[in-house]
Subunit: 633 residues, 2 copies
């Protein structure tokens, strides 16, 4: 173990070498962000040398963690990781930004030592909150660090994260701001005047100001922050392009690289022994053969939870309550489980039915207020730490408002369960602004999110058990109203005690050969009534409930392709939901039959769900008429 | 004109009547938000009585404007508007939250006097900034007011709006916070501790504290705020449920209504002459026959701009530059136009090519920093005020990050042009987090947004002219790279000086009968090369450029349906873009032919666009091979 002076010496030796590497890799790739990398490198080196991390075991549970929110300083991160033994400098420099290399333009967790993929600014502090919560929940005495840019402070989500950190006393978190006072379009005070220190203090944070290029000050600040019983922001005064006279304090170098001649001049000025030509040759020959599976993105995250008994509902119930009950049931079984449970709420506990869980496990319930952007990211980060994490919200907030947060979580291979209630016109009197009629239309864009839209309380119950025991991102969507229990022809419960939810499987509710009707979610009960009524009139439709609209059910597709007409029926934008996906799935398989889609054709009015359905011709009578008209009956 | 004492008397008379109306309408509809309505009503009445507004001409240009950000206090808004002659109290009470009534659960601009539909919290201050900018740009000496909730202050977007207002010295803006200290889940200090005053002061705002139920203090504060040369926040201490003893300070009444018996008890306590039974009967008979067209949502917003000459490019150019040039060209023609131009940038001026406009019209260029959520809403609000407004950004910020803001703008029938660059894998080395591969997949969910993806600089030029002269929401998407000029078979420029962009029209680039290839955006040049090469080999494909993927081109659909195979080719998520829309459009019309989709199948790596396309099998060679394989050639 080095004493402080030795450590300072070591870092001071590495930093100019690092700057040389930063310049070389950006010059060789003719792209990337040298300026901020050079202003951050002293902090990064200091952190990696003092954090409790192990390059041979980068995912060890009690490690300190660093979230780099300004992911464009990847050259500095790779270099600092190389100096700490996580990666090889030659690989990083020669492969930087080459297709299929792990050394991407913005950092991603395929690189050992990188905890969180960033690049869209303003999210890192939220992710760090999630990691800090994990430390608290597991009673690991670790430290979570964040580096952010100064321009980035303009993003509102950071203020949300600050408040959350303060409320939950995340005193195990320290955040550095690279205060070089330049952003892409110039002086931060010109682009968007802001008093960053006042902003942080106004949210109850402690602030330390340092010279971000003085290793001794950096190390002292890291030490001091540990002893403060509050989240700490360290405002590090730095210089963009630090170390090279002609780059310093020039915003141009945020995203511009040096031509080779200038780079060589810069290396000379840095007075380090760094062989540009060697790296240039390496890069020319670079074959990116990286086997990404060597670098697991996911934590060792085997879910260890005990499933609870299921519930079978026989009386009309809202799916929301079924979700809340199942969650509470599972919580009761898992007070001492290795995998923890966590639930995040944004001031809608009663409506999204997380109050049962909150009573059962108050310590695992996080009331995040009206701060959805922060919550989505914080919950996602926590979900990577072997904490089975649920974020429950209204659809318009849990999906529409936070889509981009989920996109980045998906890239981060998180394990988040996003539970959305009040989707569709079923939201009723709250009207247009609250109509989440794009929950499938949005989430089908994210490659690794499973999308589940249960049809009744029994299917909801079983789907929640599935999600709770499953590793990976899941979004569930449910309406507001009480729903009838779906039944078999003989009147028995359809999703009975023998039913197990299987992701991607559609449910055949009725047989029939005059056509097929596919329904999703809230409207399944209506569909069943219509089909049973039509059967009385001699019109027999095959009825399928599609609870996993994004995944094709081959059996269903083969079957409906045999029918002369297929109807789809959904409380969702008719252009982007079940109907459009089925059209796509059929065309992809060259399965051709007449398809008629019933869904929401415009922003709709405010009223009881029943009335709104009528106005949109999605009620039982309208559906019956529309089907008969299509069948010429 | 009343003197101050007379005005106070008048408002004090109206306020208890208003509270009776609020309670009656929420009780009758058995839904809605009485608590906050009762804490806000004194402010609302005071504002409508002092603002320069005219119920007979609610859209007059020099009017003062009020944005109600906490749109759930609609009962209070409708009542206050009734007291000021904008609407009829009987209609508001009897139709509140009935399907197809303009008196929706959350306010919308179909109601005369309502300026902005709200309901998703945290956006109102941004909208008000847009209106305040309009006042400044038009040199109308008007005042813009905002009412917000206190729980709402947790939303990060509000901090962005504060900074913008301060930077642009929006001293014509005054914001009230209904500080009743309760939100849905209880005490705001418990749900999410926050020092609201410090937050505002830390962003340079002036703060006035008042008793929000003392009319005299409210009126004084309104006066005082006018004289302060900065944006002003008035923290109004209020009481949730104010005026009814058993409702006061109970968070339950945020969203719970009184049963009839309690409502009658409350009316008694309010000591007003308010005939509950009369309204109850009216409501029973209420036929919502409202002709919404009586209430135009849109401003008298006839665009009065002079179009500039077009440009014809003959050399490889990036679409970004073509957009920037066209914008600059149009600006040059319109220094004195009645319709103003405005451009918003989020710290990416050089990359999104708005620097030419910035030089030409610096006063109309708004540098909003890294604050996309605020910017999307602020720009949209401004676009309603006969200011032709462009918001330019990278796709991941201008679409993915701000989708929900655009959704609400669409509901608000704004006139925003969202110009997105760097979409697709064409973003290159910036990698996964910057890959906007869902620009169509998201925007196709919004009913009134036109979606344009131009194929080359010439089409971009013409599409920008179209958007600039067009009334309504438009999103444009373009990549980063320089693109070849699309040509006719004889080598002449395809989109030549005779070409006019027509929304919804696809462009037939080549004739052929062996199949059809549909391409969108950046990859059009590749497609053309492949088709011309295949033609040499005797394989003739009909090639269509689809620049408006969301709108069906019937001529194209009929034509491709005649082919034995149709290929789609896009730099977009293959599940949600051009290919999936074409599948949907064909199925909707029972046009059946084999469809093969080429697009992005997963989050991709970081590298030069060319290399990344190769890895994703979207480069020229891969496309050729894949087409030949499908054709068994």
């Amino acid at each position: 173990m080095l004493n402080k002076d030795e450590l300072i010496q070591k870092i001071e030796k590495q930093r100019d070498l690092s700057r040389a590497a930063i310049l070389t890799m950006t010059t060789l790739s003719e792209s990337g962000h040298p300026g901020g990398s050079m202003s951050c490198i002293d902090m990064l080196l200091s952190l990696y040398h003092t954090m409790n991390v192990d390059p041979l075991n980068p995912h060890k549970e009690d490690r300190d963690m660093l979230v780099v929110s300004n992911g464009h300083i990847s050259p500095a991160v790779y270099t600092a990781l190389a100096c700490s033994g996580f990666v090889k400098l030659e690989e990083a420099v020669s492969e930087f930004r080459l297709a299929n290399s792990i050394f991407e333009g913005h950092i991603e967790p395929a690189v050992p030592g990188v905890e969180w993929a960033s690049g869209n600014l303003g999210q890192g502090l939220s992710a760090a909150c999630g990691f800090a919560l994990a430390g608290k929940m597991k009673q690991i005495n670790n430290q979570i660090y964040v580096i952010m840019g100064d321009g980035e402070q303009q993003k509102g989500q950071i203020s949300e994260a600050r408040r959350f950190a303060k409320k939950y006393q995340l005193n195990n978190m320290t955040c550095f701001i690279d205060y070089n006072q330049l952003q892409i379009n110039g002086d931060i005070h010109q682009v968007m005047p802001q008093d960053i220190i006042s902003n942080f203090k106004s949210d109850g944070w402690e602030v330390i100001e340092i010279n971000g290029h003085c290793i001794s000050e950096i190390l002292d600040a890291i030490d001091k922050a540990k002893s403060v019983d509050a989240p700490v922001m360290i405002l590090a005064h730095t210089v963009m392009g630090k170390g090279v006279s002609f780059m310093e304090n020039k915003e141009k170098y945020h995203g511009s690289t040096l031509p080779k001649a200038d780079c060589l001049r810069a290396l000379e000025e840095l007075k380090v022994d760094f062989d540009f030509n060697h790296y240039e040759n390496l890069r020319k020959e670079a074959i990116v053969s990286c086997n990404r599976s060597e670098y697991p993105v996911k934590e060792d995250n085997m879910i260890s939870l005990t499933d609870s008994p299921i519930r079978v509902y026989t009386k009309s119930t809202d799916n929301r309550s079924a979700w809340g009950n199942a969650l509470e049931d599972i919580a009761k079984m898992n007070h001492d489980s290795k995998t923890k449970l966590a639930v995040f709420d944004c001031d809608l506990m009663g409506s999204v039915k997380t109050n049962g869980f909150q009573k059962e496990m108050p310590e695992n319930f996080f009331q995040a207020g009206i701060m959805e952007h922060h919550t989505a990211v914080c919950a996602a980060a926590l979900s990577k730490m072997n904490v089975q994490t649920f974020f429950a919200d209204f659809g318009v907030f849990g999906i529409d408002e936070t889509y981009n947060q989920h996109r980045l979580s998906d890239i981060n291979e998180t394990n988040l369960k996003v539970i959305n209630t009040h989707v569709g016109l079923d939201v009723g009197e709250d009207g247009k602004t609250h109509q989440c009629i794009d929950y499938v239309g949005l989430m089908r864009n994210l490659y690794h999110f499973q999308v589940i839209v249960p049809a009744d309380p029994n299917q909801t119950d079983r789907a929640v058990h599935y999600a709770a025991m499953h590793q990976g991102n899941v979004v569930m969507a449910m309406g507001r109203s009480k729903l009838d229990i779906l039944t078999k022809e003989n009147g028995e419960v359809f999703f009975d005690e023998n039913y197990t939810f299987k992701y991607g499987k559609a449910d055949k509710l009725r047989e029939g050969n005059d056509g097929a009707l596919l329904v999703m979610g809230t409207l399944a009960g209506n569909a069943l009534k219509v089909v049973d009524q039509l059967a009385q009139e001699g019109i027999k439709l095959e009825l399928w409930n599609v609870s996993c609209p994004v995944k094709a059910d081959e059996e269903m597709l083969s079957s409906i392709a045999q029918k002369k007409i297929v109807f789809t029926y959904e409380d969702h934008n008719v252009n982007t939901g079940l109907g459009s996906i089925v059209a796509d799935q059929m065309m992809n398989r060259s399965l051709f039959t007449k398809l008629v889609k019933f869904g929401v054709e415009n922003y709709a009015c405010s009223g009881t769900a029943e009335d709104v359905y009528k106005y949109c011709k999605l009620d039982i009578d309208s559906l019956t008429d529309r089907i008969k008209t299509s069948l010429n009956r």
